[in-house]
Assembly symmetry: C2
Homo-oligomer: 358 residues x 2
C-alpha cells in the first residue's frame, strides 16, 4: 500500500496551462505545494503555484533539478517527450504512469488498446502511405477522417474525407506524419466520463456530461447528460475498465459517442479534462482535487453530484461577455491569460441549474 503524501509535500506538475493552474489551486487546498515545469513564460499556473521552473523539455539539467525538488510528478497534458520522462522517472514517481501516456499519445495504440479490451471504437486503419490510405478508404468507406497519430488536440491535425477523391489532399495535410483513418460514427451526441483511480485500485467516476463542440473545440458540457439508466451505467463501467486495464493512478477523461446500439469510445485523455470542469460547482470534491488526491495517495471523493450544471467555455472574445456573466450569478473561472486570441480558451463559466436533493 502506497503511503499518502504528507501535508506540506510538493507535487511537480508538467505543464503550466489552465489545467495546471486549477490543479495547483486544488493542491493548495489540501496543504500540498506545487512546482510547475513549463517551457512558456507568463503562463496561467504561474499565478498560483508555489514554484515555477521555466525550461524546455530537452533541458536535462532543469528536468533533473525539478525531479529532485518534488515528491511526485503529474502532468496536465499527454504530449510529454519520452526523453523527459526517462530523466524524471528515475527521480520521482510519475502518475498517471507511462503506460497511460504511451497509450493515449498515439491514436493507433489507443484504438488498438480499446479494441483489445472489448470496447467499441470507430473503424480505423493505420495510414503511413498514400497506398495505405487508398486501402483504408476501400475498407472503411467515406465519409471518414484522417488524423495524425500524435500531437492532435482541439481538432488540429485532422482532415475530413467526404469522398475518395479528397484522399490526396487529406494525405498531404498530414505533412508526412503517421496517421490513422477513422470511419464516421453516426452518433446522436457525445458524452464524457471523468473517472479516477487510486494507487490501491479504488475507482470513482463522476456522472457523465454531455458535450457540444464547435470548430473542433468543446463549447459546453451539460450534466446530467441525455442517457438511459443502462447507458449511464455502461458509460461508467467503460471508464472503470480502462482505468483498471492501465493500472491507472489519477483522473482520466473518456469521450464516448452515443448511438442507439452502443457507446463508442472516441478517445481517452490521461489527465483532468475540460469536460470535467463542471465538477468545480457541482461536486464537493472537483476533478482537480480528485486528481491531486489520487496521485498523492489520498482517499478519493465519491464523485457525488449536488447540482445540475452547464459548463460553457469562454473562447477568444467570449471574454467580452464576462461583465454580463458576472451579473448572472454564474460561477466564473478565468485562466489569467494576458492575450485574447481567436480559438484560445480564456476561461469557463459554470451555471448551476438546480440543486439535486439528497
Amino acid at each position: 500500500m502506497t503511503k499518502p503524501l504528507p501535508v506540506g509535500a510538493t507535487i511537480g506538475i508538467l505543464g503550466g496551462g489552465q489545467l495546471g493552474r486549477m490543479l495547483a489551486v486544488a493542491a493548495a487546498r489540501l496543504g500540498l505545494k506545487t512546482h510547475i515545469f513549463e517551457p512558456g513564460t507568463n503562463v496561467p499556473a504561474g499565478d498560483v503555484a508555489h514554484q515555477m521552473t521555466t525550461a524546455s523539455y530537452d533541458d536535462a539539467a532543469a528536468l533533473r533539478a525539478f525531479g529532485e525538488a518534488v515528491d511526485i510528478i503529474t502532468y496536465e497534458f499527454e504530449n510529454i517527450p519520452t526523453s523527459a520522462l526517462d530523466i524524471l522517472e528515475a527521480l520521482a514517481p510519475i502518475h498517471p504512469g507511462r503506460n497511460a501516456l504511451a497509450t493515449s499519445q498515439d491514436r493507433l495504440t489507443e484504438k488498438t488498446f480499446l479494441q483489445d479490451l472489448g470496447l467499441q471504437t470507430a473503424p480505423f486503419a493505420d495510414v503511413t502511405s498514400m497506398a495505405d490510405l487508398d486501402a483504408a478508404i476501400a475498407q472503411i468507406g467515406t465519409p471518414a477522417i484522417l488524423k495524425t497519430r500524435r500531437m492532435g488536440y482541439d481538432g488540429k491535425g485532422q482532415a475530413r474525407i467526404m469522398a475518395p477523391g479528397e484522399a490526396g489532399a487529406a494525405f498531404d495535410a498530414m505533412a508526412g506524419a503517421p496517421a490513422i483513418l477513422e470511419g464516421f460514427v453516426d452518433f446522436s451526441h457525445e458524452v464524457s466520463v471523468i473517472g479516477a483511480r487510486s494507487p490501491e485500485g479504488a475507482v470513482a467516476c463522476y456522472d457523465p456530461g454531455e458535450n457540444v463542440h464547435s470548430d473542433g473545440i468543446l463549447r459546453t458540457t451539460t450534466v446530467p447528460a441525455k442517457l438511459s439508466p443502462s447507458q449511464r451505467t455502461d458509460a461508467v463501467l467503460i471508464a472503470a475498465k480502462i482505468l483498471n486495464a492501465l493500472d491507472y493512478v489519477g483522473v482520466l477523461g473518456v469521450e464516448l459517442f452515443v448511438t442507439p446500439q452502443a457507446l463508442i469510445v472516441n478517445e481517452i485523455a490521461p489527465r483532468v479534462h475540460n469536460s470535467g470542469h463542471w465538477t468545480q460547482n457541482g461536486c464537493t470534491i472537483c476533478q482537480f482535487e480528485q486528481h491531486i488526491r489520487a496521485v498523492a495517495g489520498w482517499p478519493l471523493g465519491d464523485g457525488a453530484r449536488h447540482a445540475d450544471v452547464v459548463m460553457e467555455n469562454l473562447i477568444g472574445d467570449d471574454m467580452d461577455r464576462v461583465p454580463a456573466l458576472a451579473k448572472s450569478g454564474a460561477a466564473i473561472h478565468l485562466y489569467g491569460k494576458a492575450e485574447v486570441k481567436p480559438g484560445r480558451k480564456m476561461g469557463h463559466v459554470n451555471r448551476v441549474i438546480k440543486a439535486v436533493g439528497t
Copy 2:
C-alpha cells in the same frame, strides 16, 4: 459609478494568513492577480499569490512600492497601523474604507457606533482606570468581561469578572491598555451574518450560520442556524444597516447573540470571516469571491445557498485527523502552515449535510 477592475489587474492584500490565501485563490479564479504585503515569512498566502512583499508595516518605502504596484488595496485583518494606511491611501483606493477600520479596531468606538444605529449591544462602559472599573461594575454588575479596546482576537486580551472581588486581577491583566467592561448577555446561541456591499450600495447577505466556540476560538459554524423566520430576517437587516451606515465596500462579518427578546450585536469584523468559510461548499460564489467582487467593483453574487453545511475548524493537532477526514468525503481546506501549534488554526473542513433543492 465605479469602473470595475479589469481582468488582469492587481489587488493588493494586507496580510498573508489563511484569509489572504483564500482571497488570493478567489481573485485568481476571476483572472485578477494578487500582491500580498505581510511582515512574516513563509506565510499561507505566499503559496498562491502572484507576488509577495515581505516587510514590516512601518517600512514606508516598502509600503510605497506596494501601493504603487497594485490597483486597489484590501486586507485580511483589521489591526493595520494608521501610519501604514496614511501612506497607502494616497496611492490606491482601500476597501473597505478607513471608517470601517476605525470603527472595528476599537471596541468602544464599535459599541458606540452600533448603539447610535439603534442596534442592541451588551451593556458596556469605558475603563481606563481602576476607579472606572469599580464604577462600571457597580453599573453593569457581574458576571462581566473586561476586554482591551484594541488588538483582541480569538479570546486574547480578555478577562472574566465573576464577582466584584476579581476586578483587580482583571484590571492588571489588561497591562495598562484602555479597556471596556461588557456585561454578560444571557444568550441561547451565537449566529453570524456574512454580508457584502458593492460600491454602488448593492447588499447581499448569506444565510446566518450558528457558531460554537471553545476556549475563545470558533470551533464550528452550522448552516442553517436555529432561528425563527423573523429572526433570520432581522439578522440580515442588522447586517445591511451596518453595511450601509459604514458606506462599506467588501464583505463584513457580524456576530449576533440570540436571546428570546432580541438579537444582540457582539462584534463586527470588516473582512471575510471564519464563520463564513462554509460558503466555499454551500454557495456558488463563496465569501472570498464575494469580497473580491465587491472591492473590484464587480457585480455581487446573490448569496444563494445550495446546501446545508457544517464547518469545523482544524486547530492544532486536529491535523492528525486529516487522513480520516479525507476518507469521509468532507471538503478539506488546509492553510499550508508548516508548524502545528496548540490553538493555531491549521485548516477547516466543510461537511455538506444535504443539498437544498431550488
